[in-house]
Amino acid sequence: MILRRFLTVLAAIAVLALPAPGQETPPPDPRAATGGGQTLEDILARQQGLKVDDSFRRDALGDPDAAAAPSDQLGTLGGVSDPELWRALRYGAADLTVSTRMPGSEVVIQDGGMRWLAFREGPLLHYGSYLLLAMIAILVLFYIVRGKIRIEGEHTGETITRFNAVERFGHWLMAGSFIVLALTGLAMIFGRVALIPLFGKEAYAPVAAAGKWAHNNFAWAFMIGLALVIVVWIGHNIPNRHDLKWLAVGGGLFSKGVHPPARKFNAGQKIVFWAVVVLGLSISLSGLSLLFPFELPMFAKTFAILNGTGLPQALGFGELPTVLGPHQEMQLAQAWHGIVAFLFMAIIIAHIYLGTVGMEGAFDAVGTGEVDVQWAREHHALWYEEVTGKAPGHSSAEPAE
């Protein structure tokens, strides 16, 4: 009897223990072993750059409603533990009151900042340095091989006005402020890695403060100069068929006696002009975004436009994010500002070389505005003809047309 009862109970337990038909066993909690915290799999996935579902901690922010009454034991501690409070701060979910008025000031922890810092101190600094050093090395090599490009015909002693006062003013307003911006920008980005180890923090601090002031305020002179240069020179920089001829012989830069015809600007100068326009406008926009923090976010909108073209997807970047936090916008603006700045500086180093030590008579064009007639005949024969109504007719090996 007892044995029968025992077997019946045992059978009932066995039946209850079996899953009902059609009922699935709930999957085991993957975070049971860590008490709901992140697992080794989470860490490994993050290290591989995989997206990890972090809702297990993003949403674990405590429950103030479940707090014990203040009169109870530990009641005054509330329903949120310290880790839960910090987690809420990190995910921007804490109910904060801040004393600053700046937009985005309620974001007190933003771990994307570490990725920005790693980029700024890593690839941006390293590849930017390599780019500038490579450009300088190429120019030194070019100078050794080619030497200074001299006027090949006889100097006439007669000059022709190459650029009027307004053109030269625009050029030097932009150029002068660009030099200030480039030097102060480099001083800021290389401060921690190069200048502080060399001169010490006490010496660097006033340089950094003055450099930041100069960088912020000379930017306006640069933008005005850029606008002026675009207005006065854009009409002369529309590509034409002569540019192809100029490019086909490398502008005569690599061989003596070759002077492809050019109007006011040759193809090389047009490339520099358009590079200055595109990079100048781009760096101005990102600079404005940095000058007025959090007021001019533009990357989310830009990414949306780019996604619409399908270009990022075609290049393997996938859909670019179109919802960005205020700090992400600032970090992208600074990163882009730095990338464009290094490209810009590399191009301008080449431009400065050709305008000074690289080519005889080139500096006069923007210095006094007057160039030797022979220089004009050799380098800008079509422009010389347009201005004077005379055929260039110089005596170099290749006619300049």
Binding site: L173, G176, W213, A214, N217, W220, A221, P293
Partner: protein, 41 residues
């Protein structure tokens, strides 16, 4: 070369004027970042 010198001086003048004008217009860092509880004067 006078134009070049004038342009450089203009760049300095624009920088100083921009700084003063933006400060005056309430765009200084202290104006933008301090809350109403902070007395700036």
């Amino acid at each position: 070369m006078k134009v070049m010198a004038f342009a450089f001086l203009s760049a300095i003048a624009i920088a100083v004027i921009a700084d003063l004008a933006l400060d005056h217009a309430g765009f200084s860092a202290r104006d933008v970042t301090s809350g109403p509880a902070v007395r700036l004067d």
